[in-house]
C-alpha cells in the first residue's frame, strides 16, 4: 500500500486552476456565450398538466419578424434525453416539441428573436386551442383502472411499448427464497417510508447556444454533464453525421444530476437555429427549470426478518416511484434502488419490487444519489427502529450486518457486480462515535424541557461509476489524451465534466502524479466532441475513479514514451528511470535512482525529442473500469427539537467518507458539507407540491417559495466535522474512489434517527416540517385539538 505522504500532487491542497476565473466572474458559462447575429429564444409551454393541442396559430408572432417553430416543424423522432443505457433499455417518450402536454411546462412551440423581450412577446401572442384532459397526480390513483392515461404507448428501443395503468416500468429482483428467510427469522419488522419531490436547485438554470454551420452541421455550447451523449442524440434527432455535430464543454454552474441528460432546451434551440440559419440562445428561467425536472420521490415499504442475535435472515423492499410526465431513467433507477437496498446489509434471502408510475407532474430525474438517499433514508431509519426494539446498540447492529470487505457488491443494480476491496465502514463508525460522544446518549424518555437534543447515526454508500467486468445495461468508459509539451508542461484532454466539485482539478493532480511533474505544469485543455474521445458522463460519482483512471493510463503511456526519449539522451535503460517534481526549477526531473548524475528535465527531453524529430510524448487511451467500488459514508448528526414549535435545528454533525485516497482533500470535505446541507434539506424542508386543480407547483417555480438550506441554517462551522477513512482502493487511480453522491446518502436518516433520540417520535415521512413535528409532539403528549 502506498502511503499518502508519498504523493507529490495527489492529496495536496492546491489553488484550483479554474478558481480565479470563477471568483472573479470571468468564467464562461453557457448563458455567457454570445455570438455575432445571435437570436434569443423563448418556448411556448403548456399551462395545463394534461392537454392536447387542437390547433395552434403563430401568425401574430410571425408578423413580429421572429422565427417560429411548432411541434409540426420538429423531427418526428421520439427520444429519451438520457443516453447512458443501451438502446434496448432506453424508454423513449418525448419529442423536441410536443402536441400533447404531460405536465405543466411542456413545450409546444418556440420563437427566436433579436431580443429575449421580443421573443417573450411573440411567444405570448401564439394562439392555442387546447383540449384540456383530466390530470392525475397521485401514483396510486394513476394505477387504478379508468385513470387518465398519461400515455397510450411509447417506444422501448425501436419497439412500441403500450402503457397500461400508467405504469412506466417495473423491476423485480430476488435471491434465495424470501419466504423461507422470513420463516427462519425470530422477529419480523415492517414499515413504510416516504421522501419528497426535491428540486435540484442547481445555481445555473439550463442554457444552450447553437450555431448552424455552413456545411449543414451544428456547433453547440450547452449546459450538460456529457458533451458526447448530447452530440450523439442531436445527431440522431436531426439526422446530422456526428463529425458535423460539435458540442463544446462549457463550465457548468452546478448540476446535482440535472444535466445528466441532454437537456430538453438543447434540441429546441437546434431546431430554431437550423430554421433561422443564425445562432440561437435559449436560457431557461428558474420557473421553467423547476418544471423541467426534480428528484425522484419515493414510497418505500420495507420488511426485514432477524434472528435473536441480530443477524438478518431476509429482506424485502417494495417501492412505488412517481416519475411524473416522462420516463427519463426509471428503469435503471429501479435497478439501482435494488442495488442500494441489497448492498447496505447482508441478506441471504431477498426480494425487491419496484414500480415506476407516470403522473402529470414535472419529470423526475437523477439527483445526487439516484434513489440512494431515498433507500438509505428507509433502510437506515429501519435499522435504528430494529435496534431499538431488539434492545441492541444501533452501531453494533450495523457492524454485524453491513456488506464489507471481500463481499459481493451490486450497488448499480443486479447487472453490475463486483467484490469490495477497500472498506472503511468500521473505522468511520467507531471514530465518528467517539467524536460525537455516542456513548453519552440517553434515551428520549429521560429528556425533559422545551428544547431536546438527540444524536443519530446513519450509513450509506455510493458506487464509484458503473463499471463492471462485463458490459451491462449501462455504458461506462472514459477517454483521455495526455501529452508532454516542449517546455515540460503537460496538456490533459478529456471530455470529462466538472460540476464545480473539482473533478478536473483531481484529473490534473492524477496526471501530475503519474508523470512526476509539478501540478502547476499540468493544464486541462478546453474540450469538444470533435477533439476528444467518448466519455459517458460525469455522473454516478465516477469522475475521479473512472475518468481519473483513464487519465492515469494515458499519462503512463506518455511517460513511457518520454522515458524512452530520455534513455536515448542519457544512455540509461528507460525502465530504470524515474521522474520527480523539482520545486526550484518547477520542472519534472528524470533521474536514475541512487545516482546524482544522469539527471535531465522533462522539458529538455521533450524539446530534444522535437528537435531530433523523435515525436511527441503522448498517450491516448479509452478505458473502462471493471469495478464500481463503494465509497462508504457515515453521518452522525445532533439535532435540537423545540417541542413548543416543532422547529428542528441541526446542532452538530460528523460526516465521514471512505473515498479511498482523497485526491482533493479540501474539496472532498466540502462535498461532505454540501451533502449534509442537501441531506438535511431532504429530511426537514425540501419538496415540490402540486395544486391538483391547476397542476401547477404551489411554490410557483421560483426561489421565493422553493426553499433550501444555506450556511446560516447549518450547524456552526466548528461543529461540522469531517474526516476520511484511511483506505486505499487498489483498482482506483492512486487508491481513489468517488465522493460526490455518497456525501448526502446517509444524512436524512441520521436526522430522523436523531429526532427519535431527542423526542421518541419516529418520522418516516420527509420532509419533517415544524408543522408536522409539532402535530406529532402534541399527539404524543395527548393534547386534544
Amino acid at each position: 500500500m502506498m502511503e499518502k505522504n508519498k504523493f507529490n500532487a495527489v492529496s495536496k491542497i492546491t489553488r484550483r486552476k479554474d478558481g480565479m476565473a470563477k471568483v472573479t466572474g470571468k468564467e464562461t458559462y453557457s448563458s455567457d456565450v454570445r455570438l455575432p447575429h445571435m437570436l434569443y429564444a423563448r418556448v411556448l409551454r403548456s399551462p395545463y398538466p394534461h392537454a392536447r393541442i387542437k390547433s395552434i396559430d403563430t401568425s401574430e408572432a410571425e408578423k413580429m419578424g421572429v422565427v417560429c417553430i411548432t411541434y409540426k416543424d420538429t423531427p418526428d423522432f421520439k427520444y429519451n434525453e438520457r443516453q447512458v443505457s443501451i438502446p434496448e433499455k432506453t424508454y423513449r417518450d418525448r419529442n423536441v416539441l410536443s402536441e400533447k402536454a404531460h405536465h405543466v411546462g411542456e413545450g409546444f412551440a418556440a420563437v427566436a428573436a433579436k431580443t429575449e423581450a421580443l421573443a417573450e412577446k411573440a411567444v405570448r401572442s401564439i394562439k392555442v386551442d387546447y383540449e384540456v384532459l383530466p390530470g392525475v397526480f397521485d401514483p396510486y390513483e394513476a394505477m387504478k383502472p379508468g385513470a387518465p392515461k398519461v400515455y397510450d404507448e411509447i417506444l422501448l428501443g425501436e419497439n412500441v411499448l403500450p402503457i397500461e395503468n400508467n405504469i412506466a416500468c417495473k423491476r423485480q429482483v430476488s435471491e434465495g427464497d424470501v419466504e423461507k428467510g422470513f420463516a427462519e427469522a425470530d422477529f419480523i419488522f415492517e414499515h413504510e417510508f416516504k421522501t419528497g419531490r426535491v428540486y435540484h436547485a442547481q445555481m445555473e438554470t439550463k442554457s444552450v447556444v447553437c450555431r448552424p454551420e455552413p456545411d449543414g452541421g451544428i456547433t453547440v455550447w450547452p449546459t450538460t454533464q456529457s458533451i458526447h451523449n448530447t452530440r450523439q442524440l442531436l445527431g440522431a434527432i436531426f439526422d446530422i453525421p456526428l463529425n458535423k455535430v460539435n458540442v463544446h464543454r462549457v463550465a457548468i454552474g452546478g448540476a446535482f444530476g440535472s444535466s445528466i441528460q441532454m437537456n430538453t432546451c438543447i434540441p429546441i434551440s437546434v431546431a430554431l437555429a437550423l430554421k433561422a440559419q443564425k445562432p440561437v440562445k435559449l436560457s431557461l428561467t428558474r420557473e421553467e427549470d423547476m418544471y423541467d425536472h426534480c428528484k425522484y420521490p419515493s414510497i418505500i415499504h420495507l420488511k426485514y426478518g432477524l434472528k435473536k442475535d441480530g443477524t438478518i435472515t431476509a429482506g424485502e423492499m417494495k417501492t412505488v416511484v412517481d416519475i411524473g410526465g416522462h420516463n427519463i431513467q426509471a428503469y435503471p433507477l429501479l435497478g439501482c434502488m435494488s442495488g442500494w437496498f441489497v448492498s447496505l446489509y447482508r441478506m441471504p434471502h431477498l426480494n425487491f419490487e419496484g414500480t415506476a408510475v407516470y403522473t402529470n407532474k414535472a419529470p423526475g430525474c437523477a439527483m445526487q444519489g439516484y434513489g440512494n438517499p431515498q433507500v438509505s433514508f428507509a433502510v437506515e431509519s429501519m435499522i435504528d427502529m430494529i435496534a431499538e426494539k431488539m434492545g441492541m446498540d444501533a452501531i453494533q447492529l450495523r457492524l454485524k450486518n453491513y456488506v464489507g470487505l471481500g463481499e459481493t457488491f451490486w450497488g448499480q443494480g443486479p447487472t453490475v457486480r463486483s467484490i469490495i476491496r477497500s472498506c472503511g465502514v468500521e473505522e468511520m463508525l467507531l471514530k465518528g462515535k467517539d467524536m460525537i460522544e455516542w456513548d453519552e446518549r440517553i434515551k428520549p424518555e429521560m429528556k425533559t424541557g422545551r428544547y431536546r437534543r438527540g444524536v443519530g447515526v446513519a450509513r450509506g454508500f455510493h458506487t464509484s461509476g458503473t463499471g463492471a467486468p462485463t458490459p451491462g445495461e449501462v455504458i461506462d468508459y472514459s477517454t483521455a489524451m495526455v501529452k508532454v509539451n516542449e517546455d515540460g508542461s503537460v496538456d490533459v484532454s478529456t471530455a470529462l465534466m466538472c460540476h464545480g466539485g473539482g473533478t478536473l482539478e483531481a484529473i490534473a493532480k492524477i496526471a501530475a502524479e503519474e508523470l512526476g511533474v509539478p501540478i502547476d505544469k499540468v493544464g486541462i485543455s478546453p474540450s469538444d466532441t470533435r477533439n476528444t474521445g467518448y466519455d459517458v458522463c460525469t455522473h454516478a460519482t465516477r469522475g475521479i475513479y473512472c475518468g481519473g483512471a483513464s487519465v492515469q493510463r494515458a499519462a503512463k503511456k506518455a511517460k513511457e514514451r518520454l522515458l524512452e526519449f530520455a534513455s536515448r539522451l542519457i544512455d540509461v535503460n528507460p525502465e530504470a528511470l524515474k521522474i520527480y517534481p523539482e520545486e526550484g526549477t518547477g520542472q519534472g526531473i528524470i533521474y536514475l535512482p541512487g545516482t546524482l548524475q544522469k539527471n535531465i528535465s522533462v522539458g529538455e527531453v521533450a524539446k530534444m525529442a522535437q528537435l531530433k524529430g523523435w515525436g511527441t510524448a503522448i498517450g491516448v487511451i479509452s478505458h473502462r473500469q471493471v469495478n464500481c467500488p463503494p465509497c462508504f459514508v457515515t453521518n452522525f448528526i445532533e439535532v435540537e427539537v423545540d417541542t413548543w414549535t416543532g422547529e428542528i435545528k441541526t446542532t452538530r454533525a460528523v460526516a465521514a467518507v471512505d473515498c479511498g485516497t482523497p485526491v482533493n482533500p479540501d474539496l472532498a470535505a466540502g462535498q461532505l458539507e454540501g451533502g449534509l446541507c442537501r441531506g438535511i434539506g431532504l429530511a426537514l424542508l425540501e419538496d415540490t407540491e402540486y395544486d391538483t386543480e391547476s397542476g401547477e407547483l404551489t411554490c410557483g417555480g421560483t426561489f421565493v417559495d422553493y426553499k433550501f438550506y444555506t450556511p446560516v441554517d447549518m450547524p456552526p462551522v466548528e461543529h461540522v466535522r469531517t474526516f476520511f477513512a484511511t483506505t486505499y482502493e487498489p483498482t482506483g487511480p492512486f487508491g481513489a474512489k468517488g465522493v460526490g453522491e455518497a456525501a448526502n446518502n446517509a444524512t436524512a436518516a441520521a436526522v430522523a434517527n436523531a429526532i427519535y433520540n431527542a423526542v421518541g417520535i419516529r418520522f418516516a415521512e420527509a420532509p419533517m416540517t415544524p408543522e408536522v413535528v409539532l402535530a406529532a409532539l402534541q399527539k404524543q403528549a395527548g393534547v386534544e385539538k
Binding site: E120, T645, E647, V704, T710, D713
Partner: protein
C-alpha cells in the same frame, strides 16, 4: 406559464431625478403608469413575475434627502435609508431592539444593502418585517406629494392585503416615533422556513417596565392578518399589572385568538395561532429582562 423571471418582459422608461421635487412632478405627470423604485427588492421581483408593469420607473436612490436620522424627543428615520444603515443605527438601542432584530432577520447581505425601510412599508405587504416593531412604537409616516404633506399613523397605512392609503403621486419621506420611555425594551420573533426568508408569522413586543409592574406591553404581528396588526386586547391584559407567569400565559393565549390569518400563505392558520402564543412569550421574556428594573 406567462412569466419570465430572467428578464423584465415589458418595456419601461427609467428615470433617476436629482431632487424630490422632480420625483413628485414625475409621479404627478404619469399617475398610475409610474412606480417608484428604491432598492427594487420588491418591485423588480414583481415586475419579473409580471405582477406590475409600470411604464415609468422613478429611481429615488440618488436622493440624499431621504437618507437621514434625527434623534431627540421625536426619532426620525429617512425613508430612503437602507436596511443595513437602519440596523447599524439602532444596533445599541435597547428600547428599539425589536426594529434591530426585525431587520437582522431579513434577507441577507444583498437584501440588507439594497432594500429600504420606506420600500418595506410602502410595498404594503402584511409580512413587511419592519412594520410590527414600528407599530409597537406607535410610529407615524410622512407622505409627500406636490400639493400636500401628511403625517399618518403607521397603523392606518395598510388597509388591505398589499394595499396602502398612499396615493399614486405620494412618496414616503420619513418614519418617525416619539422617543420611547426609559425602562423600555423590545424583541422581534419570526418563524420562517429557513434562516433568511419571508416570514410565516412574526411578533414584535415592546415592554415598559416599572419594577415588577408591566407599565406597557405593546404587541404587533406580521403575516397574522391581511395587514400588520396590533393586539390591543392582549395588550390590555398585561398593562399596569405586576408580572406573573399566569398573566403571561393568558396574554399569549389572547394574542393567538386575536389574529386573523388568511388560510393560504406559508403555513396553516392553526400553526400560526399556536406560534404567536409561543413567540409572544419568547419575545416578552427577552424584552422584560432587558427593560431593567428590579426582578
Amino acid at each position: 406559464m406567462k412569466m419570465n423571471t430572467r428578464i423584465i418582459s415589458h418595456e419601461f422608461d427609467y428615470h433617476a431625478p436629482d431632487t424630490i421635487r422632480e420625483v413628485l412632478e414625475m409621479l404627478d405627470q404619469h399617475g398610475s403608469d409610474a412606480k417608484i423604485i428604491a432598492g427594487g427588492t420588491d418591485l423588480i421581483t414583481q415586475m419579473k413575475m409580471g405582477k406590475r408593469t409600470p411604464s415609468h420607473v422613478v429611481d429615488i436612490r440618488k436622493l440624499k434627502d431621504l437618507r437621514y436620522y434625527v434623534e431627540g424627543a421625536v426619532i426620525k428615520i429617512g425613508a430612503g435609508n437602507n436596511f443595513r444603515s437602519v440596523m447599524e443605527h439602532f444596533a445599541n438601542n435597547v428600547p428599539c431592539r425589536g426594529l434591530y432584530e426585525a431587520i437582522y432577520s431579513i434577507g441577507k447581505t444583498q437584501v440588507l444593502n439594497m432594500g429600504t425601510i420606506g420600500g418595506n412599508l410602502s410595498n404594503g405587504s402584511p409580512k413587511a418585517d419592519t412594520a410590527p416593531p414600528l407599530l409597537t412604537y406607535n410610529a407615524r409616516v410622512k407622505l409627500l406629494s406636490l400639493k400636500s404633506e401628511r403625517l399618518i399613523d403607521l397603523k392606518d397605512l395598510h388597509v388591505g392585503y398589499n394595499k396602502t392609503v398612499m396615493e399614486e403621486n405620494e412618496i414616503m419621506t420619513e418614519i418617525q416615533f416619539d422617543a420611547l420611555p426609559k425602562n423600555t425594551a423590545g424583541a422581534f420573533e419570526k418563524k420562517a422556513r429557513v434562516g433568511s426568508d419571508i416570514s410565516k408569522i412574526t411578533c414584535a413586543v415592546t415592554v415598559t417596565r416599572d419594577n415588577d409592574v408591566c407599565r406597557n406591553c405593546n404587541i404587533a404581528l406580521g403575516a397574522a392578518a391581511p395587514v400588520p396588526m396590533r393586539a390591543p386586547v392582549a395588550e390590555s391584559i398585561m398593562k399596569g399589572r405586576p408580572f406573573s407567569d399566569q398573566l403571561l400565559e393568558d396574554t399569549a393565549l389572547q394574542v393567538g385568538r386575536e389574529i386573523n390569518p388568511p388560510a393560504y400563505g406559508r403555513t396553516s392558520v392553526e400553526y400560526r395561532r399556536e406560534m404567536v402564543a409561543v413567540m409572544f412569550k419568547d419575545g416578552f421574556k427577552r424584552a422584560w429582562e432587558q427593560a431593567g428594573g428590579d426582578k
